[in-house]
């Protein structure tokens, strides 16, 4: 353990939404929109007798990333599980629309959420679909959307679907990305199907390392705000095309992946089949060791797409 290096790190996982933003963006460049002082809070939570948050649990605004204009949103992990309510969702939609109107260089979305805020029911569901629509308009205009996932809630539910509709996903191994949450799967399918209390199982199924190996995440970084920033800077210049051809290619890639691994019962089997030596130790490898171990075998989106294209 290199203590001196360790102490220079700042945990993305532990940081508040505002701190994640100011840490990722260029120093002193963040300007918040609809901040706490505007007090746009959730009318639904108030009616239900729940405490509200002045920013409804999402921080949005504009700033600079490596000198380029970007717009950015970060969900607050601790407030209502980062869930999307009406106001929360509207802020994100408005941000995406504003990004399109100002032709910003890129949009960064720091997602930390269980998905829809059930307390707000349909308002939350509608909000997510509006976010989705606004995002597609941005992509159509060639403005890349980068999703950063590395917080306590992971990125689940409708926002999990949404994350994969964006250009790039950057994750840490602490982060998780999926659709249904572990408890929901267990409730629906039984504990033999998925034991939600088996945290090792949860992380090797939905965690950053596995997502990276499957090609769902483009980058796997250490839990350090600087690492997320560096990955964002690298990927902000690389929008992914949103065309019929790119969609067909993606479908081919997914079909091949399904054929290659569809019958596996556990991520451990998938990794073995990928041919990665010592794959049982993947969960405990540190970031550097992990990348070194998998390098010759990785099925990153880039290499997968290249392979598909070559066929």
């Amino acid at each position: 353990m290199n203590l001196a290096e360790w102490r220079t790190r700042e945990s993305f996982y532990e940081a508040t939404a505002r701190r994640r933003i100011t840490g990722v963006l260029d120093q002193n460049s963040f300007q918040e929109i609809l901040g706490p002082a505007d007090r746009i809070t959730s009318p639904h939570l108030e009616e239900l007798g729940f405490p509200v948050s002045f920013d409804d649990g999402v921080v949005i605004g504009s700033g600079l990333l490596n000198g380029n204009n970007v717009m950015i949103a970060a969900q607050e992990s601790g407030f209502m599980g980062g869930s999307v309510g009406e106001v929360h969702g509207a802020k994100m939609t408005g941000l995406l629309q504003s990004a399109l109107a100002t032709k910003t260089t890129a949009v960064l979305l720091l997602l930390d959420t269980g998905g829809v805020r059930l307390h707000e029911a349909n308002a939350g569901l509608v909000a997510i679909s509006e976010i989705q629509r606004a995002a597609f308009r941005l992509r159509e205009a060639g403005i890349p959307i980068l999703v950063l996932i590395g917080g306590n809630n992971g990125c689940y539910g409708g926002m999990g679907i949404f994350a994969r509709c964006c250009d790039h996903v950057i994750m840490s191994e602490e982060g998780r990305l999926s659709l249904a949450g572990p408890e929901v799967i267990e409730t629906a399918g039984g504990v033999e199907e998925f034991d939600s209390r088996d945290r090792a199982l949860v992380w090797r199924t939905m965690g950053g390392k596995h997502r990276f190996l499957l090609g769902e995440a483009d980058r796997l970084v250490i839990d350090d705000i600087r690492a997320f920033r560096a990955a964002a800077i690298e990927l902000m210049q690389k929008p992914e095309p949103l065309t019929l051809e790119s969609m067909l290619q993606e479908h081919r890639r997914l079909a091949e992946r399904l054929e290659a691994y569809g019958d596996c019962k556990d991520a451990l089997e998938i990794w073995k089949r990928m041919g990665i030596p010592g794959s049982d130790s993947i969960p405990i490898m540190d970031n550097e060791a992990f990348h070194a171990a998998i390098k010759p075998y990785v099925a990153s989106k880039e290499t997968q797409e290249k392979k598909c294209h070559e066929r």
Binding site: R18, R39, G49, F50, G57
Partner: protein, 108 residues
């Protein structure tokens, strides 16, 4: 049930004047609170507006806030709080953090 409490404090006669603006500290999760501190035209006074999920602790809030204003030379300051059952220790900590943040904005 959210209990709403309002407190009024005489401002300090010779206050340290923060810049126009605001600072927000804390997260509204269980055992925690959010403190929004803002410059406001209050004729030299200070106002605190608390919305809390823990009912029946008005006198404790009064004591904590009185202590806070005794330690900080503020006037024309409005504090708004969303509280989700934080102990006085955490309330004091967040108030101090919010005060430090808004003073730093004055210095920038």
């Amino acid at each position: 049930m959210i209990e709403q409490l309002k407190f009024d404090f005489p401002g300090h006669p010779s206050p340290v004047q923060p810049a126009r603006g605001n600072a927000c500290i804390g997260v509204v999760n269980s055992g925690n609170l959010e403190v929004l501190i803002e410059s406001a035209a209050l004729g030299g006074r200070c106002e605190v507006d608390v919305k809390t999920s823990a009912n029946g602790f008005k006198s404790t809030w009064a004591a904590v806030l009185e202590d806070f204003f005794a330690r900080n030379r503020f006037a024309d300051i409005k504090i708004s709080i969303n509280d989700y059952g934080a102990t006085p220790a955490i309330v004091s900590l967040r108030l101090d953090q919010a005060a430090a943040e808004i003073m730093e904005k004055e210095m920038r």
